[in-house]
Symmetry: C2
Subunit: 354 residues, 2 copies
């Protein structure tokens, strides 16, 4: 190449380098511009994340589920954030008042603006209260009461609805003195009624979310058939199988493991391997008059596949109950979702320790 | 250039183009990565914005001030968001409880995480509830009660503390039936007491923020000497002078103008030009027994330069009171901040309309 050619080559490279530098530099908007260049109402970054939300009435196995998922190398749930349900609840409160909704619209605080603001808050907390991971997860049990709204905020989210025999749940609430707004810890009757109301609300949410978005998981199935159940859960969540989920106790407070909170009531239980100890502690503990009114007090027991007259039911034999099961079917049939079988090689239910 | 030279030139350009494409492409992180690459605890984008916060006890001229600033081409305040003070209040509530603070820390929801989440929420609302502008502003009067916390969230923020003769403020609250939590609209006595408490809280906040961050502005000075006062305000805010701020009424509900809310109590007043009508409507309206106890009921009147025994005081003669005025000084002296003079060319106080 002659001298003229070399010059032209050099010029071309310089021009190319300048173009490169200019193009790259144009990504570096100052903050004001970045905020302003995102179209008004355009979703906050992060709302497209395929978040996992674990919910249910407290004392229904939500911590165990999130601990087992935390053991998966790709997932991080972490502790209950406490604040995510509160901000969602605040929003529900505003939206229920017609007057307030009008005031907010008049203030320019439209649904789109508010949704972005709430999503931004939730994302900051969920993303930053624990270690990063390819798949983020949140476990604040009562968030499922607002499941359909959460799906509006995070349209790629999936939900795990932890369900447990209400009698066991209430027995745990009362004996462990777990404070939950509205639950009178002196009364099994009142607590069962509250449990029924809460689980029904969440059941409706799960049903509305639909089977591709919300999976109902029974605590009893989780502890009696952990591998089968977790295979179902991971498949639902589009996560690859990993044996670590069956040995969550090995990853307590480890990096990329199961972060525990000293103030969470289930921490001292979830440090142990999956076990059957909590299945039937309630048996014989429910007052006789409450037992007599069980079906009437807590109709959701039956809906969820728990026989209100059996103390206790045979949990191992009950299949998973899918929320989209047609009303005419008995608890034994759920064609829309293959029942959780107890395989032969799983240990039979261990005798209840003293 | 020979053929070989042209080939080399082409190759160079292709290589440059490939480099360009590759480098540019590497900026396109998926959302998870973008969220994760921001260091844990690194401030949310937008927290460095030099936001303007206008606060004060409601009915103290806050809407007039924000309307006048809205008339400035570089500024946008917009309507009261209603939700910003609520989320700040929620956070104060959590932080006041030692127990709750511990629970949040245990949950990984540290101060840094929570501050980012709250800031993200506020930014979404403030930035997106109105039109973009080089300088964004928020007017939710009670936010100033949490001024020092707001400064933690937005370290480049500045605050305008609107102050007004408490007797006029309370008269406005009562006669216009403005609902404010804790104010008993049937009692001048109780309302003056509440006014005193609220204005004292905000005064302390303003004082702690300091004179470079918080400017106390008297409503009376704003309406009696609007140009002098606004020159002081714009200088404090590092904004260039613009005559439009003296004619805010020309920009009502215009693009880049003054957006009003139908449900805000001052909207029907702020559509008018700056005027003196509201200065002394309270005179003769305060019950005699309350007037007799005025200095004791509302000591902040005196602190702020309003003579508790004068009905009404000579507002035009009172200088601005700087929050950092030494306690030993009389209201007439404020060496740390040049007093607002009423220049000769300003119209004298107009007679009170019937």
């Amino acid at each position: 190449m002659g001298r003229g050619g070399r010059v032209r080559l050099a010029v071309a490279l310089v021009v190319a380098a300048l173009l490169l530098w200019a193009w790259r530099g144009s990504d570096r908007h100052g903050p004001v511009t970045s905020h302003s260049t995102r179209g008004v109402g355009a979703p906050v970054e992060g709302r497209e994340l395929p978040l996992i939300f674990i919910g249910g009435v407290p004392r229904s196995g939500t911590t165990l589920m999130r601990a087992m998922l935390d053991a998966h190398p790709d997932v991080r749930c972490g502790q209950e954030t406490r604040v995510v349900p509160r901000i969602l609840q605040m929003r529900q409160h505003w939206m229920r008042s017609q007057k307030e909704s009008v005031r907010l619209e008049q203030a320019g605080v439209s649904k789109a603006v508010l949704d972005n603001a709430i999503a931004a808050f939730c994302l900051e907390v969920i993303v930053r209260h624990g270690e990063p991971a390819p798949r983020l997860c949140n476990k604040d049990p009562l968030v499922l009461k607002m499941g359909t709204y959460v799906l509006e905020l995070f349209p790629n989210a999936k939900f795990l609805f932890m369900v447990r025999d209400g009698r066991a749940t209430v027995h745990s609430i009362i004996t462990r003195k777990v404070t939950i707004t509205g639950f009178d810890l002196t009364s099994y009757r009142q607590c069962l009624s509250k449990w029924n109301h809460a689980v029904e609300l969440m059941y409706q949410q799960c049903k509305t979310l639909g089977p591709t978005r919300c999976l109902l998981v029974r605590y009893e199935a989780l502890v009696l058939a952990p591998e089968t159940t977790m295979r179902r859960v991971l498949s639902f969540l589009d996560l690859p199988w990993d044996d670590a989920v069956l040995h969550h106790e090995r990853y307590i407070n480890q990096p990329n493991g199961v972060a525990l909170s000293n103030v969470e009531r289930s921490s001292d239980q979830v440090v142990r391997p999956v076990n059957l100890d909590a299945l039937d502690k309630w048996v014989g503990q429910i007052p006789a008059d409450v037992r007599a009114d069980m079906a009437e007090l807590a109709p959701m027991l039956s809906v969820l596949g728990y026989d209100p007259w059996a103390n206790p039911p045979r949990y191992a034999a009950s299949p998973d109950v899918s929320p989209d099961r047609s009303p005419g079917q008995s608890p034994g049939q759920s064609p829309d979702q293959s029942p959780v079988q107890v395989p032969n090689d799983e240990s039979p239910r261990a005798p209840h320790p003293p």
